[in-house]
Amino acid sequence: MSWIVRMIVVLPALAALVGLVTRRQRGLAAAVAVSVSAYVAVLGLIQWVAPSRTADIESIGSLPLGDLSVPLHLLSDRVSGLVAFVVALVVLGIQVFTAWYLRDDPRYGQFAATVSLFAAGMLLLVQAGDLVLMLVGWEVMGWCSWLLIGHDSERAAARRAAYKAFIVTRVADIAMVVGIVALSVRARSTDLMAVLTATGDGTLLTIGLVGVVIGVAGKSGLVPFHDWLPDAMEGPTPASALIHAATMVAAGTYVIARLFSLYAGHDGARTLLAVLTAVTMVYAALLALVQTDLKRMLAYSTLSQIAIMLSALAAAPAELGPGAGIAHLVGHAFFKALLFLGAGWLSVLAGATAVAALRGRLRPTGALRWSMGIGLAALAGVPPLIGFFTKDTVIDAALEGATGGGGFRAWLVVVALFVTVVLTAAYCTRAWLLLDSPVAATGELPDVEPAVVAEEDVAVVTSTDSADDAEVERVHAHGHAPITLPAALVVSVLAALTVVGTLFLVSLRGGVHVGLLSALLSVLLVAGAAYAVWSLSDRGRLDVADRVPGRVREPAVRGFGVDTAYVGIGRAVTAVARLVVTLDRDVVDAYPRATAVVARAAGRAGERSHRAVPSLSLLSLLVGVVVVAVLGVAAWR
């Protein structure tokens, strides 16, 4: 059994390597990428169905590090099986879709290989029974996200977005690393089981858990680290699907779920998580409502949904376990992958991703229309789609936590969840209305600000609205290649999974746990919100977001200047760096230079005083003799 687990991790990595070598042969590269992910999906399925429930699968052997035990074990249980399977499935879908979507891209091979590596990172994280291995997977994903987002590195915006994504997450990882170090120190081991069972030293535990929360906040895009995620839409759509659906941003959920038993006993860290998630889910949902770009809207919805997953972990009672979060992770994986791939398909058809350009373009597309509809409905939480079940599981868990003594933390989450339900339904309805309404609007595309970058500057001037531009360019560059059957099939299968995916969660403890009352309430809220939007938008003829005053909407579309804040921080760091360089040159280096100057000056002075005047040499001699004599006699006595 353990070989399956190892294979699940190793195969995608090997696929990445092979893909890199064979990147020139598109067909081969695609075949490798797709077949390996398919195989891994099968392996994941096997693991899920028949988990070995072990946590000591040897990977590369334990590291000899004195008193620190680093066994580097892998584990396998039903949760890892489920998540690994879902991840593998989504990756498979994305690989198939990419083979069509990036058919004409000269860098397809690299892209596919990177996706494979990305999958390897995520699967390693999923299978890791060791904090260090988790960190490895975690960081590998971050690196791959840099490659994927920056795939179109010809475009300044893509370069910038990639840079931003990596740096922001890396800054958060400072805390993650410190947290993991603290947890390992506490357990004298990096083994997950040891960490979970270690006792004592509450300070270390607090540092560890809070650190991990901050790290997760970075990767999962919680406020205040969230702004990289919408920008990451600069990557090709499959990359967005990959990052958003089941892997990187959701990885935080998985990590915290793995550490849930520690969190369950630590109110402080959970409160932090609760506050972050509550703020994020509402804030992101609000912003999603006003976005002018479909992909950015989906990105904000991702932020919101990830926050929902994490909020389950923040609010659920200890005895319920992390199941609700995992469940929503799975559900979100399906429908978000569906939505992104659908949006990609749509953008190819429409030649744009800007909402204004997409107006009504969904209506004539048949299967795609259905798929997008299902996806949006699932996002909105319409029963009986998977989104409904998983979200309500979260709500229920949070409610249970709130009633079970979770106090402020849980209630905050509950309130935020209900608000989010309303907002989610609203923006989904808006999206559907815009995409599907027959009225074809001919809006002007927003101007694109040219990206001006100073090489030595970490900070980059923002250009928000170029994501759609990217797709336009891609489409124009590559022409309208009609969608291939496998790619279309992927979308359809994902749609199907969105419908029936709930079945996946049955075996998960606490996976589907819908309370009747809360479900009813949320359905009502969804329906109400949908109706409200429908009516406000004049039955889809208008964009409901246009009703928002421009002076609010404009900054909202731009993420309320968070980017500027990042840039400001970057500038500040750059200023410090310049100071450092100045200090390095003028202060630290002053000593050696001063030494040289002094030596030279002394030499000059010496030269002047050594003009071979015998009388002076006599003087120095006698002075020397007397001084030395006095010193010698004095010191001797």
């Binding site: 030596a599 030279r600 002394a602 030499g603 000059r604 010496g606 030269e607 050594h610 071979a612 015998p614 002076l616 040499s617 006599l618 120095s620 001699l621 006698l622 002075v623 020397g624 003799v625 001084v627 030395v628 004599a629 010193l631 010698g632 006699v633 010191a635 001797w636 006595r637």
Partner: protein, 528 residues
Amino acid sequence: MKGLAIDYTTVLPALLPVAGLVLVLVADLVNPRLRRVPYAVAALAALGSAVATVPGLALGGGTTRETFCLTGRTAAWATAPTVDGLPQVCLWQADALGSTLQLAAAFAAFVCIALAWPRTRRRRPTDSTREPVEAVLLLAALAGTIVVAASRDVGTWLVALELATLPVIALVALSGRRAAVAGATQLLVTSLVSFALLVLGVALWFAATGSPFLTPDAALSSGGAFSAASGAPTSVVFPSVSAGVVALATVLVIAGVGFKLSLVPFHAWTPTAYAGSSVPIATFLATVSKIAALAALLVVLRAVAALGTPALVSIALLASLSMTLGNVMALRQDDVVRLLAWSTVAQAGWVVLPLVSISALGVGASATYLLTYVVATLVAFAVVAVTLRDRPGEGRSIAAYEGLWQRSPWRAGALALALTSLAGLPPGIIGLVGKITALRPVVAEGWVWLAVVAAVNAVIGVAVYLRWLRAVITAPDGVAGAAGTEGATPAPVAVARRRPVMVAGLVLASAVLVVVSVQPDLLLRLLG
């Protein structure tokens, strides 16, 4: 003389140069037009002297080859000189250290003579004085050096030291250039004053100890131990409060010898005299003279060492001043001889550095460092001499060495080895070992500040020598290609044909440098 047992084989190292000297004079009397014969005689004498020191090298700790001894038997003789209560004292005591210094002096003198070897072409028949006189003076100075290394009494010590100094002054003056006269004048007045102080120091020693011998027993007697030990009625009774006088005597001796060692502030003559004299004479000044000085100093300090291992602030001061000023000044020199002169000043600091602990360790370390310095400096000067013959008029500037590596790789290699040895960097392992040796007693005595000063000076020293080395390895502008391809092969052949003796001197010195670099123990072990 019945009382003095004279073993002529023991004093052979000193007798041979003197004999050579006389021979040269006789030869000159017979045929005043000889130019090479005096040098040949001098070279043979130096070589013979070197060979004669060899039996002394193997001496173990404590044993010496001695003669002119005042033994108990002499005391029985009625009017014979007596040293009551003293153990046997000899006017010539060469132990391993002394013999090594003698060998080094003879060897260095030999190389100097080789470098000064006269040209093939005869000059006008009337110009006959110079070669014999130079040979005589060189041999006399060598004899003085060899004697002083083995002397144990103030009389011999003074005379030998002067014998090692006075001819050198004349040698400097003999080159006759304007700068040489300036150098000789400066050297002269400094040396006269130093010598006067030296005599004063010796007189103080005699006054304090009552003994004309530079032996530990004499030093101890200054504290009153003399009379207490013997108890004999005829024993000398002196005031016991004379340790201070011994201190002053020692310090004056250090100062007096420090002039010869070019220690700051007694150094001012060094650059002038070096730059003024011909290169072989400068070589002699930089090597044999230094050996004489240090040998003289060690004779005194070894006697003083019996008073304990007093750490001398004065020596520390002189050492750090010398190192610093020498290096800083050398850093500015564009004339290689002046550079070497200042480097001598700096190296003199390193030589006396270990003497801050006047102990066997310090004495041995000092001598070792001196030897490493002498070997390396010999090679450097030899290369300068050869280069100067190649390129008269400008061979003294650092710029003249640009592209030496291409023109004459072996010579450049020798120079590089010498310079790295002086800088204390590999491949000049011997210089590095010398630095280790010199620092060891300093550290052992806990002189942290002095060690740090030395470390800083090691750095400046490296800068000094690398400046020159840079020129050696750099191809001159524009001729890099030409020199590399055409000039490289014919030049060494021509060099070897024109002045074989000079080159032989260079080769010999370089060979010694290479050998001791590979196996430093050869040099170090001699010191026991």
